[in-house]
Symmetry: C2
Subunit: 131 residues, 2 copies
């Protein structure tokens, strides 16, 4: 990888870019997280998704504690160079920390956001302790 691949990104003032993870086979949108320059570089070199955790202010190799890593099949960039799309193979078929396949498990149903997708594994089962 050359630095020009990273230079082309229109990073925010905080040096971040939103990254959408999509299941490469089903097309399902799994999650949206953020990347900084280092996390994108590691994602490209290592072949697994590495994000920047804004809450913890540190690199976050997705799956480091859950085992639910994301193998990158394809990386895409949008027209304004300010959004990245990762087409991934999701280990364990669980992307969400709640134990669901996708983070987008709530759907607008007239007057509320209604849960539509069930938990595959509880956080306790995933992380080895009760949530």
């Amino acid at each position: 990888m050359t630095e020009s691949v990273l230079d082309e990104i229109a990073w925010t003032a905080e040096g971040l870019v939103p990254a959408i993870a999509q299941d490469w086979q089903t097309g399902e949108i799994l999650m949206l997280a953020w990347m900084n320059r280092q996390s994108l570089a590691q994602t490209i070199s290592g072949g697994e998704a590495v994000y920047w955790s804004r809450s913890r202010q540190k690199l976050w190799h997705k799956g480091e504690s859950s085992g639910h890593t994301q193998r990158v099949v394809e990386l895409r960039l949008d027209c304004d160079s300010d959004v990245i799309l990762l087409r991934v193979e999701q280990e364990g078929n669980i992307a969400c920390h709640t134990g669901r396949r996708s983070c987008f498990y709530r759907k607008l149903d007239s007057d509320c956001w209604r849960e539509t997708d069930g938990v595959i594994k509880t956080p306790g089962e995933i992380y080895g302790k009760q949530p």
Copy 2:
């Protein structure tokens, strides 16, 4: 729609939330834009995607100048309530202002972001003048 649907969103300090538009039939990710409270309210009430243009600092009814509106089939919210997913029917099969189906028309190919998807209509054809 009740206000509680909007209250549940974890808006940024600027009062925005990222919104991903996905083709409801093919699963293709078309674009990512931003919404504020008013644009989400209009999206829900009108049934067509209305974003907040950060560059123009105004409401942006997608397709208002191109005709490429997005009919909302389903709205989803993620686990942290800070990302919205719109499953849409894309008018004209063109979501990108460059005249391509999706804004994510570049793919990482070893050392560069390579264009993979062609232009369906030129911006001149879409907007009625040369770009």
